[in-house]
C-alpha cells in the first residue's frame, strides 16, 4: 500500500504541529507514509473565490506529486473534497482520475480503509467536535442533521475510543463556523458572528477543547477565542489522536 501524505499549504506554514501529528499517527498505525517534496496547495482558495483558472497550476502540481500513490491522505476534509469535486477543470487523464479517486481525509482513511477505531490515544479532556462542512456534507464523514437516515460519524468513532476523552454534545450539532475561505474577509461581519456563536455553543456545553478535521475552521475559531480571551483551546483531531496525556496538563 503506497500512501502519500498531503499537508495543506496553511498547515505546512502556520500549523506544522498538525502535520507532524498526522505523520506520527499514521506511522504508529504501521502505515508506510511518503511525503513527496514540492507540495504547495490543492488550489481551493482561488477556485472558491471564483478564480478556478488561477488554480490550474496548483492542481497540476498536486497531480504530479501524487499520481503514483494508492492512497493520498490529508488532515483536511476541505482539501480532499476540493480535489475530488473540483479537479474536473483539468484534463481527466489517468493520473488526474487517480488522485481524485484516491484522496482521503485522515479520519476517513483510518476508519474506512485501515478499519481501525482505537488508535491507542489518551486525552483527558471534555472535547467538542466541530464537524467541518466540507468533510461532513462533501465527503460524508458523518451523517448531517438535515438528511434523514442512519446516524454515523467517523470522527466520533475515533474519539469515543480515546481514553479519558469526554465527548460533549452541542445545541447545534453541525452548523458552519463561518470560516469559508475568502468569505472570512469579504463577509467579515457575518463570518465573525458565526464564529462567535459557534464558540458560545461549545462554552455553553462545557467544552474544554474544540476539535475538527480542518485547521482552517480552527484557525478562525482560535482567532476569536484569543481575541476575546475565552477559556477554550482548539486542536486538530490528529493532535488528539496522537496524544498520550494521562492527566490534564496544567495551564
Amino acid at each position: 500500500m503506497k500512501v502519500g501524505l498531503f499537508i495543506p499549504c496553511y498547515i505546512n506554514q502556520l500549523y506544522p504541529q498538525v502535520g507532524i501529528a498526522t505523520l506520527e499517527l499514521l506511522e504508529k498505525l504501521n502505515v508506510e507514509v511518503t511525503y513527496p517534496s514540492g507540495q504547495t496547495c490543492c488550489g481551493q482558495p482561488m477556485a472558491n473565490s471564483g478564480y478556478e483558472n488561477e488554480s490550474i497550476g496548483a492542481c497540476n502540481n498536486f497531480v504530479s506529486n501524487f499520481k503514483d500513490f494508492d492512497y493520498i491522505v490529508t488532515p483536511s476534509g476541505s482539501c480532499a473534497y476540493h480535489v475530488k469535486k473540483h479537479y474536473n477543470i483539468i484534463n481527466q487523464t489517468h493520473d488526474v482520475k487517480n488522485v481524485r479517486n484516491n484522496i482521503y481525509e485522515l479520519c476517513d482513511f483510518i476508519v474506512n480503509i485501515l478499519k481501525i477505531k482505537d488508535v491507542g490515544a489518551s486525552f483527558p479532556y471534555k472535547v467538542g467536535v466541530h464537524k467541518s462542512c466540507h468533510g461532513l456534507r462533501g465527503l460524508r464523514l458523518g451523517s448531517c442533521s438535515e438528511v434523514v437516515g442512519e446516524r454515523y460519524s467517523s470522527l466520533e468513532d475515533l474519539l469515543k475510543e480515546v481514553k479519558g476523552t469526554e465527548l460533549m454534545s452541542l445545541k447545534r450539532t453541525d452548523e458552519c463556523c463561518g470560516f469559508g475561505g475568502t468569505f472570512a474577509v469579504t463577509e467579515e461581519a457575518i463570518s465573525v458572528k458565526m464564529g462567535k456563536d459557534k464558540i458560545q455553543d461549545h462554552l455553553n456545553n462545557g467544552v474544554e477543547v474544540i476539535t475538527a478535521t480542518d485547521t482552517s475552521c480552527l484557525m478562525h475559531l482560535e482567532g476569536l477565542i484569543a481575541r476575546n480571551k475565552k477559556p477554550l483551546k482548539v486542536l486538530h483531531i490528529a493532535e488528539i489522536l496522537n496524544s498520550q496525556y494521562f492527566t490534564k496538563v496544567p495551564n
Binding site: P45, E187, E188, M194, R227
Partner: protein, 456 residues
C-alpha cells in the same frame, strides 16, 4: 449596496441578529423534528427532484396540456413573456371587470413583477391578505422571507405599525390582539373586493387545475368572495399529474415550517357559476435559466424557504441584505441569471457549507451552483483590482514549490515579529475581530527535512 455592506449594517444590532437567527433556527429545527419522522423522506426528495427534472425537460408539452385542460374547464389562460406583460394582462382583466379593489394572497411572482405599484399607479387598491405580507405592505417594505415575509419585524414594531395604519390601541405587542385586529381589517377588505389575485403552488397539467397552499385561508377567502379570480404562476409551477401532489404537498409544508401539511391546500379547477377565473402563465427569464445546463435545476424550487431557515448567513444577515425578490441561497442562484451585475455579490454570501442543498426538498444542488456562479461572475463583471491581482499572485505562488517556500518563510517571519498593531491594521479585515496565528519558526517541510537528515 452589496451583500457584505448590507449584512454588516444588519450586524450593528447584535441583539436583533441573535433574535432573527434564533427565530429561523427554531423553524429549521421544527422541520428536522418533522421530517425525521417520515419514513422514506429521502425517497420523497428523490421523487420530487425526478418529477421536476422530467417536467422541465418536457415543459413545452406540459404547458400546452395544462392550457388545453384549463380552457376546457372554462378558465381563461394568458401568456406573459415578462413582468411587464404580466402586469398589463392583470391590469386589463381588472379594467374589463371594473375592478377597483383587489385582494391578493401570497405570490412571490407578483412581487417579482412589481405588480402592486403598477396597479396602484392607476388607482387600483391592492391589499396583501397574508398577515406577514400585509405587515410589510403597511411598512412599505419588500418581504424579507418567502414564507415568513415579516420575520424581520418584532411584535412591538407590528404594534406601532397597526396603531399608525389600522388605528389599533397600544397593546405592548400582544400577538392575540394584533392578529384579531388584522383579521377584522382584512375581513372588510375581502367583502369589498372586486377581484382576487392568488399565486399558484402547483399547476396540474392533466387536470388544468391549480393548487394554492396557505395557512391563513386567505387565498380561499379572496377567491370565494370576489367575482373574478386571477391566478398568477411562473412556467415552472407545472407538475404532470394530480398524483404528484402526494409527493409535493408532503415535502412542501414539512420543509417550510415543520407542519405535516399546510392548513389549506386549495384546489381551483373551474370558475364558480357567474364568476370568472383567469390564469396568467409567466416566463420572465425562466426559459433563459432553463437554457443554462448548470443552473436549470434552480427551477425545481417549490418555494418552501428551507434553504433560508438553514442558511447560517441568511439567519445572520436578514432577507433584505440580499436586495432581491427571492433572498437566501435559492435567490442567490436565481438572481444572477436575471441581473448578473446587480446581484454579483450574492453567490459569495455563502461559506459553501452545503446545508442548503441537503435541506432542499427537491434536491437542488444549491451550493454547487453558487460555486459555478462565482466562476462566471469573476469573468463577466468588474472585480476589485486587489482581489484579481492577489488571486493571480496566489495562483502563481502555488504552482511553483520554490516560490511557495520563500513566501511562506516571509509570512511566518512577519507573523512572529511584526507588532499586532501593524498586523491587525485596516487592510487586514481578518484582524478586525480575530487574531492571526503566531508564525512558527519551522514549517512542516523544514521539520520533515530535518528529520530525514537525522535518519540518514
Amino acid at each position: 449596496m452589496s451583500h457584505p455592506k448590507l449584512a454588516s449594517i444588519f450586524n450593528k444590532d447584535e441583539k436583533r441578529v441573535n433574535w432573527h437567527d434564533k427565530a429561523l433556527w427554531f423553524v429549521r429545527h421544527k422541520r428536522d423534528l418533522s421530517v425525521h419522522q417520515v419514513k422514506g423522506w429521502e425517497t420523497l426528495r428523490n421523487l420530487g427532484h425526478g418529477i421536476k427534472a422530467h417536467t422541465l425537460s418536457n415543459l413545452d408539452n406540459y404547458l400546452i396540456q395544462f392550457e388545453d385542460n384549463a380552457l376546457k374547464n372554462g378558465v381563461q389562460v394568458h401568456w406573459a413573456a415578462n413582468g411587464d406583460e404580466h402586469n398589463k394582462i392583470v391590469h386589463r382583466i381588472l379594467k374589463e371587470n371594473n375592478a377597483k379593489k383587489v385582494v391578493k394572497s401570497k405570490s412571490m411572482l407578483t412581487e417579482e413583477c412589481h405588480l402592486n405599484p403598477f396597479l396602484e399607479a392607476d388607482d387600483i387598491e391592492v391589499i396583501d391578505t397574508d398577515l406577514g405580507e400585509r405587515i410589510v405592505q403597511l411598512a412599505k417594505e419588500p418581504p424579507s422571507h418567502i414564507v415568513l415575509p415579516a420575520i424581520h419585524k418584532n411584535k412591538h414594531e407590528v404594534d406601532e405599525l397597526f396603531q399608525e395604519h389600522l388605528g389599533t390601541e397600544p397593546c405592548n405587542g400582544d400577538p392575540q390582539y394584533l392578529t384579531h385586529e388584522a383579521r377584522k381589517h382584512l375581513r372588510e377588505k375581502f367583502i369589498e373586493a372586486d377581484a382576487a389575485i392568488t399565486g399558484v403552488n402547483f399547476a396540474i397539467a392533466e387536470t388544468g387545475g391549480v393548487v394554492v397552499c396557505t395557512n391563513e385561508g386567505n387565498a380561499d377567502m379572496g377567491a370565494h368572495l370576489a367575482p373574478v379570480h386571477i391566478a398568477c404562476m411562473g412556467v415552472e409551477k407545472i407538475i404532470p399529474k394530480q398524483d404528484h401532489l402526494g409527493v409535493f404537498l408532503r415535502l412542501l409544508a414539512r420543509s417550510a415550517t415543520g407542519q405535516p401539511i399546510t392548513t389549506y391546500s386549495s384546489h381551483f379547477k373551474k370558475p364558480r357559476k357567474g364568476t370568472k377565473m383567469h390564469i396568467v402563465i409567466v416566463d420572465n427569464g425562466r426559459s433563459e435559466q432553463l437554457s443554462r445546463p448548470d443552473f436549470r435545476a434552480s427551477l425545481h424550487c417549490i418555494r418552501c424557504g428551507a434553504c433560508m431557515n438553514t442558511c447560517p448567513i441568511y439567519r445572520r444577515s436578514g432577507g433584505h441584505s440580499y436586495d432581491a425578490t427571492i433572498p437566501g441561497p435559492i435567490g442567490s442562484i436565481l438572481s444572477p441569471g436575471k441581473d448578473l451585475k446587480k446581484h454579483s455579490t450574492l453567490p459569495f454570501a455563502s461559506t459553501l457549507c452545503g446545508s442548503c442543498s441537503d435541506v432542499c426538498p427537491v434536491k437542488i444542488d444549491i451550493h454547487t451552483q453558487l460555486y459555478k456562479w462565482r466562476q462566471i461572475i469573476t469573468k463577466e463583471t468588474k472585480q476589485p483590482f486587489v482581489k484579481k491581482k492577489s488571486m493571480a499572485i496566489m495562483g502563481n505562488v502555488f504552482s511553483k514549490p520554490s516560490q511557495f517556500e520563500r513566501v511562506g518563510k516571509i509570512a511566518r517571519w512577519s507573523l512572529r515579529h511584526l507588532p499586532k498593531s501593524i498586523i491587525n491594521s485596516k487592510p487586514n479585515a481578518w484582524g478586525k475581530a480575530r487574531d492571526l496565528p503566531k508564525g512558527p519558526k519551522q514549517s512542516f517541510d523544514q521539520w520533515y527535512n530535518q528529520r530525514q537528515d537525522k535518519n540518514e
